[in-house]
Symmetry: D2
């Protein structure tokens, strides 16, 4: 059975809420196991067990929070071993134009450097889901779609 | 007297409306002349006459519209002559997370490659002003602030 | 039979040379048809016939040349129809630090906005292949790898 | 007297060497005091004392090392107080196309979010200086230029 981890750092709870919506969406595909993990409690070694990794961070100064960056910097010990896995990203931010897209792209860039496979969304939030403040219905829908799409991509590969 | 040009491409009218709000903001500094220019009618040579350039584009596939890109590609004939001038950027987009920040950053990157000077905004739209759909009051305020801040930076330098 | 198009714009010939190396690499997979296309002679409609699209541009002011941007801006008429296809990017530049990564990322961003699937390289040029000046042996190897990897990803999907 | 801090994180010594070259360049302007600081020993509060901040990081997974990200994340306690200061960035990387430009841009984005003022270089490394492996003569020159240019911009403002 294919497996996805949704890994997040959250301080206000907004990014965690998004992670939960993404888990719901990913579970629409019954052939994939989906786990929700706080980055602080997620042993790096477990990364190797997953076929897909969906990573979320608040928007702090235009790139992923240092807690998430620490995770990626430490992942160098598994370099080349994540190649070919599927990745996706999401972020919560305080403002429109507040650095949310560059935060998502900082996560996607780290995934590409690992040789991972990512897919955009031709509708809505193209690079990954963005919440401005607390997740609303629009964000819930986009999170569901991200989880579901990633889950099906993992299954296909 | 110092001079700023607000140069835009607009199809739906949203980017043009933003440009007009920015002109209003820039004129709050009476010591700076501010001109509004459609990129299609703006002779490239005139760029040299200005101390500051504020450039706006709709968000098309995550970077500036080709009409604006054509303007920058042609500006290679003035390479090194724009160094030290002040730059700023803005964009209108259809969706949150729709590529607006990467569009603004594509313009700022072109300006940095020309050796231009740019400033972020510690409040609101950090890299440059983003409108989701038609400009609302939030966008009007941010545009006014961008124009005014750029105008005062041009004056200081 | 799956099909890949390598689409480029080239003025000096450097980007074209890279495109040719990528075609060679992609042809290592005998199950995939690979076509080399100059963007100026490539009818937009043909995009729909391909399973993978590898796009190259010189580095002009930190994003894709306007000839390539025009191609993507026009592709809006096929929006949603490219979703799920595979994409990759490459660029030639004059200098290290000269805007080559941001050029490649401007192409990848456009592909993500189309809903396309991209993969990074955990070795060498992570986002896409970069040539500084004329393609050398390092670039030839990286181009071959990019073509081959993309070709196998197209086959898998 | 105006003051600049060159703040770096370095593991291999390459980024530190670049920092030293930048300090030399900045000191060509006798009217500006220039301090070299390792990020791990640099009290965040001291940031407020400087008119310019030049920040360097190795290229780790396409954005600044977490040690530098921690510095920026903590700097939120001074948000709005760095607005109007001058910023610049540099990075060392293992490979061409290895994520160096996106690393530099992750630092510049953080500076823009603080409201800082940055300038590109119309010659050579446009966004900030990149070293591929150990700094060579090209990198030494570019570092000198970055330090000198930043120093004169700090003086002008």
């Amino acid at each position: 059975m294919k497996k996805i981890a949704v890994v997040y750092y959250s301080k206000s709870g907004n990014t965690k809420k998004m992670a939960e919506f993404i888990v719901e969406g990913a579970k629409r595909n019954p052939d994939v196991q989906v786990d929700l993990e706080s980055v602080e409690n997620f042993p790096l070694e477990k990364t190797l067990d997953y076929d897909g990794l969906i990573v979320g961070s608040p928007t702090y100064y235009g790139s992923m929070a240092y807690q998430i960056k620490l995770f990626f910097d430490n992942s160098v010990k598994f370099h080349r071993k994540l190649s070919g896995k599927v990745g996706a990203a999401f972020s919560s931010a305080a403002n429109i134009g507040g650095g949310n897209e560059t935060t998502i792209n900082s996560i996607l860039n780290a995934m590409l450097i690992h040789g991972m496979i990512i897919q955009g969304n031709c509708k809505g939030d193209h690079y990954g889901v963005v919440s401005i403040g607390q997740p609303d219905d629009r964000v819930k829908d986009q999170c569901g779609e991200l989880g579901e799409r990633t889950s099906f991509l993992v299954k296909r590969l």
